[in-house]
Symmetry: C2
Subunit: 253 residues, 2 copies
């Protein structure tokens, strides 16, 4: 039984200030991970977004998921910022007894010319097998013909759901789910057309795209994915399906 | 044309003091990398050992290549120390114009129950292809049935020589080559028996083994490997074969 949990960058950081952890939100998320029915030791993979760490540096240098950089110093600047956020997440989990270990996508992933991502799960799988909790993050990744581009946490979730035997996928976001035009949570999305008009850009600037991109990515997955707010994190880890269930044509339930 | 260069931990750190870079030695090595005929942008993979960074923490917790730990905090302590040395190496190279990027083995590798190492080279290969210089390091790695154990830089060199299309392998050490019983450099080693009596433990305590282990590892490679001292680094990168050439039965020259 393997669960992939994405903690949105906007959930655990203050996106309005560079490199600022939202310590209360991160502590609450780490506590929920400890308290939930899902065993974080060997059954849980955590992926977190960049929030005010990665996005700040990426925007400064004009690097995005499609606009790359050949400058190693820029790559390191973005990657190191994400390393500082990753360390904060590992600390918050570790302090609460979760055997969390880092898995840095720059070291394990690559994009080819048509932007297809290859993520080697060698370390993730063995970490799970040995009872650790791998913690990945949005990162910069070397991209054929483009130097290095931004890799979102959502893309990592999708790559994990394809490569590992994953049972449950959850995205903890700043909103309680995918919202319709009236601002109500959509219970289930099976086709992008269901929500195309309602999903726009996310509140804060996000180089890796907002809810529209998230929904498109999740619709491709072989497993259903829940999109929910922080308040529902504990429930998701206990087995509930809070927020919006995104279940595309590849899902066999 | 791909060259794998190992910079020994004892070469770039002061092994007698915890977490101490030998700044002059590191600067000299980085300068040689810049000056040599081998293009560090796309043709060179650097691997460095742990020296006084990794070994210090590993020894403190009794972690070795065979004695593992289940404690995530210990794994992170060793890995983070190696990250600090890796950053110093990346800085030294980067300041001299080498487009060096980190590849952290904990994120890309795993050992199975019989200690066989799997190192995913997804990122290393794409970094080379895009003209970057991947810099790996001795690390802690998750090990089936043992938690996490120490992975030496020499083992990483061997894994790279097996997985990538590698043309040249060089190990820059504190000694000018494999020494015979009289302290003279052996020109060529083809069988372990050639040097069995002469190679003992290395000078300083090294959780990942001394010259004997190095020779055994190199004898298994599909390409010949040179073992040489710092003074010969530039010559090796210019195409010379300084020090000792270790060429085992798998080599087709």
């Amino acid at each position: 039984m393997t669960t992939v949990l994405k903690l949105g960058g906007s959930v655990i950081t203050d996106k309005s200030a560079p490199e600022t952890v939202d310590a209360d939100a991160l502590a609450a998320a780490a506590t929920a991970v400890t308290a939930g029915a899902t065993d974080p030791a060997g059954e849980l993979v955590v992926v977190h977004g960049g929030g005010s760490f990665g996005h700040h540096h990426a925007a400064e240098h004009g690097v995005s998921a499609t606009e790359g950089t050949d400058d190693a110093a820029t790559v390191r600047e973005i990657h190191d910022a994400m390393g500082r956020l990753n360390a904060a997440v590992l600390d918050a989990l570790g302090e609460r007894g979760v055997p969390a270990l880092p898995v840095r996508p720059l070291s394990a992933a690559a994009r080819d010319e048509d932007s297809t991502l290859t993520l080697a799960t060698t370390a993730v799988e063995r970490q799970l097998g040995e009872g650790f909790c791998p913690v990945l993050h949005g990162d910069v990744v070397v991209h054929e013909g483009a130097g290095a581009t931004i890799l979102s946490g959502d893309e990592i979730v999708a790559a994990l759901a394809r490569s590992l035997s994953v049972d449950r996928v959850g995205l903890c976001s700043t909103v309680p789910g995918v919202l319709d035009a009236d601002g109500d949570v959509v219970e289930r999305v099976e086709r992008f057309a269901d929500v195309a008009e309602a999903v726009g850009a996310s509140d804060a600037t996000d180089v890796t795209g907002g809810m529209a991109g998230k929904v498109r990515t999740l619709l491709d997955l072989p497993v259903p994915a829940s999109v929910f707010g922080s308040a529902a994190l504990r429930g998701f880890l206990d087995g509930d399906r809070p927020g919006t269930l995104v279940a595309g044509p590849n899902v066999e339930e």
